[in-house]
């Protein structure tokens, strides 16, 4: 049964990919909307990262945008200085992910000792420090542009790249979560003391979850940089961390399907309101959006999926 659900999901994914690709190429889907679709994919990758950190490992992070930014700036710096063909995107994306993961490892070692809200505050503080460093980055590396923003990044991100990254991230997170390492992370979320008592090295697994999640944010950042070809420190301030948190919680903590659906719904809703609303009340777009957010949260406090998954994402139960 699961195998069939898997095939259907694969066919649907391939179908979606082809439809967007073809309509994009023929101009049926205008470039603006193609960009929105790609952005939805990027938010999915970043959201999956935060879901690993908060949803599965239970470590409250309010600084996700910082790692997203580190990935973006690293990847953009590489492609901009190398000045070669589009294949440079792959090493650049990987470098962005590795850089974000490395910083996450270094900062995670000391601060992951903090619990719940205090960890949230520390990561929030770290996020703001990183934003200030981006603002002042041109003093060290003029290419990064500092508070004037980084321009002239090659436009390498395409629908295909985004799609491959989303599929890759979903598979990576799914296989991680259902591996013994992922199980250890979930047990840390449920009860740290009990997991320690059954021999799980909690520090190690908290760091593992944090580094993996932040690397995904870094990967998403690299895609973002090469989609919009312009980076500004404002794009990585703490409000952007809140956006990712909203997506993960709306989808349901600890649910891959939830994050994917919520990331797409969130991006398309914000842009969709722009189209649906008549011009005279367009100002209301950002008033309606938080109201919807409050209503959804009041009606479904555990998120849309509440920890459940589409069937094809779940491993077969052993009888």
């Amino acid at each position: 049964m699961r195998l069939r659900a898997g095939w259907i999901a694969l066919l649907c994914a391939a179908g979606l990919y082809l439809i967007v690709l073809i309509t994009g190429r023929t101009g049926l889907l205008n470039p603006y909307w193609l960009q929105i679709f790609q952005f939805a994919g990027i938010m999915t990758v970043s959201g999956l990262g935060l879901n690993v950190i908060y949803g599965y490992t239970g470590q409250f992070s309010l600084g996700h945008a910082a790692f997203y930014g580190i990935g973006a700036y690293t990847a953009a710096f590489i492609t901009k200085s190398a000045a070669t063909g589009g294949w440079m995107l792959l090493p650049a994306l990987l470098a962005g992910a590795v850089a974000a993961g490395l910083v996450a490892f270094l900062i995670g070692m000391p601060i992951l000792r903090l619990r719940s809200d205090y960890l949230g505050i520390a990561t929030l503080g770290f996020g703001i420090i990183v934003k200030v460093l981006f603002d002042n980055s041109d003093a060290v590396l003029p290419t990064l542009g500092g508070s004037r923003g980084m321009t002239g990044i090659p436009h390498f991100t395409s629908w295909t790249w985004v799609f491959l990254c989303v599929i890759g991230a979903v598979l990576l997170v799914r296989n991680f979560v259902y591996s013994s390492h992922g199980r250890a992370c979930i047990s840390v979320r449920e009860d740290e003391i009990a997991s320690e008592a059954i021999g799980i090295n909690t520090t190690q697994y908290k760091t593992l979850g944090f580094v993996l999640g932040c690397s995904l944010a870094g990967l998403a950042g690299g895609l973002y940089a090469h989609l919009y070809t312009f980076l500004h420190p404002m794009n990585f301030d703490f409000l952007k961390s809140l956006d990712v948190l909203l997506i993960v919680v709306l989808g349901g903590l600890g649910s891959i399907s939830g994050t994917v659906v919520a990331a797409c719904a969130w991006t398309l809703l914000l842009e969709g309101l722009r189209v649906v609303l008549p011009t005279e009340i367009l100002d209301w777009r950002l008033v309606i959006y938080p109201l919807l957010l409050i209503v959804v949260m009041l009606l479904r406090p555990k998120g849309l999926f509440g920890g459940n998954e589409f069937r094809f994402l779940k491993p077969e139960e052993r009888r």
């Binding site: 000792r113 903090l114 205090y118 505050i121 770290f126 002042n136 809140l242 009041l298």
Partner: protein, 294 residues
């Protein structure tokens, strides 16, 4: 040396404004364990209430302050009743997300043309600015007024929480909600009172901020709100004197690092100190770390 003293005075001015916001954060967190992200926006609304009370209603400053505080107390209670109360038994993160929703709503609703409008407004000075020269250090009457109002409100709050019956009930609820209910305390009422008091203090902070740094806009609450919250954590969240100490430290660090190191890096210093303090004392300066029971 005079420059240092001058900057310390400027830092204290900012710190006292942060303290008024931080108290609301810390009281709400102490009672419902919620990071009330909308608190910074209540501060903004308070500044606007003060602005309209002075410009449209032509009220004298003390009355304008009271109007702003009363208006925001009502706003705070409304927010609590509509957005947070239904989620009291839900996972804590759900209330946090609605708090973010309320915050965004207040910012963008207030930016609408027929509400406050998106533009920067200059806040009127309710009295002429006068500077007093004390041996090279200048102190303006605005600074003196900020200190006086903030200290008076802080003392009043401390008396309210420590000496009155309602204050005792607030402390009881923050200590143990279920036991407090068994002792006959109306917990919902106490939570509403806490939101009202916290929001009124934030409004006072907003009016003082408007007078001290005379420019207001619907997004002015984000950064001061964030810093005040950090100040509350720095001092030990849930502890009222802690919030004050934390806020004064934040104000001083911010102004001193802007004056002597680099003005673009001042947020990095403020938040760097936060992380260092949390690493050494995870429960904040005045917080006592509780040992987890197995």
């Amino acid at each position: 040396m005079t420059i240092l003293i001058q900057q310390i005075i400027n830092g204290l001015q900012l710190g006292f404004v942060y303290a008024l916001i931080a108290l609301g954060y810390t009281m709400v967190y102490g009672i419902v364990r919620l990071i009330n992200f909308a608190h910074g926006d209540v501060f903004m609304v308070g500044a606007y209430f003060g602005f309209y009370a002075i410009t449209r209603l032509a009220l004298p400053f003390p009355l304008a302050l009271l109007v702003a505080m009363a208006g925001c107390a009502v706003l705070g209670v409304t927010i609590e009743r509509v957005a947070y109360k239904p989620l009291r038994r839900a996972p804590r993160i759900a209330a946090l997300i609605t708090a973010i929703g309320v915050s965004l709503f207040l910012e963008y609703f207030c930016s609408l043309r027929f509400v406050f409008g998106p533009d920067y407004r200059s806040f009127p000075r309710p009295f002429a600015v006068r500077n007093f020269d004390l041996g090279g250090v200048t102190v303006s009457n605005i600074q003196i007024m900020v200190f006086a109002v903030a200290i008076a409100l802080l003392v009043l709050l401390q008396l309210f929480v420590q000496k009155t019956k309602t204050g005792m009930a607030m402390r009881a609820v923050s200590f143990d909600k279920d036991t407090a209910r068994l002792m006959g305390i109306d917990v919902d009422l106490i939570i509403s009172i806490t939101f009202a008091v916290g929001s009124a203090l934030a409004a006072a902070g907003g009016v003082l901020y408007g007078i001290a740094y005379p420019q207001i806009n619907p997004f002015m609450g984000i950064m001061p709100g964030l810093k005040a919250f950090v100040a509350a954590v720095l001092g030990g969240i849930g502890i009222i004197p802690g919030a004050m100490i934390g806020a004064l430290i934040m104000g001083l660090v911010e102004v001193l690092s802007a004056a002597f190191v680099s003005s673009t890096m001042r947020d990095a210093f403020a938040f760097g100190i936060l992380i260092l303090v949390l690493l050494v004392k995870p429960a904040g300066i005045l917080g006592s770390s509780t040992q987890e029971k197995v």
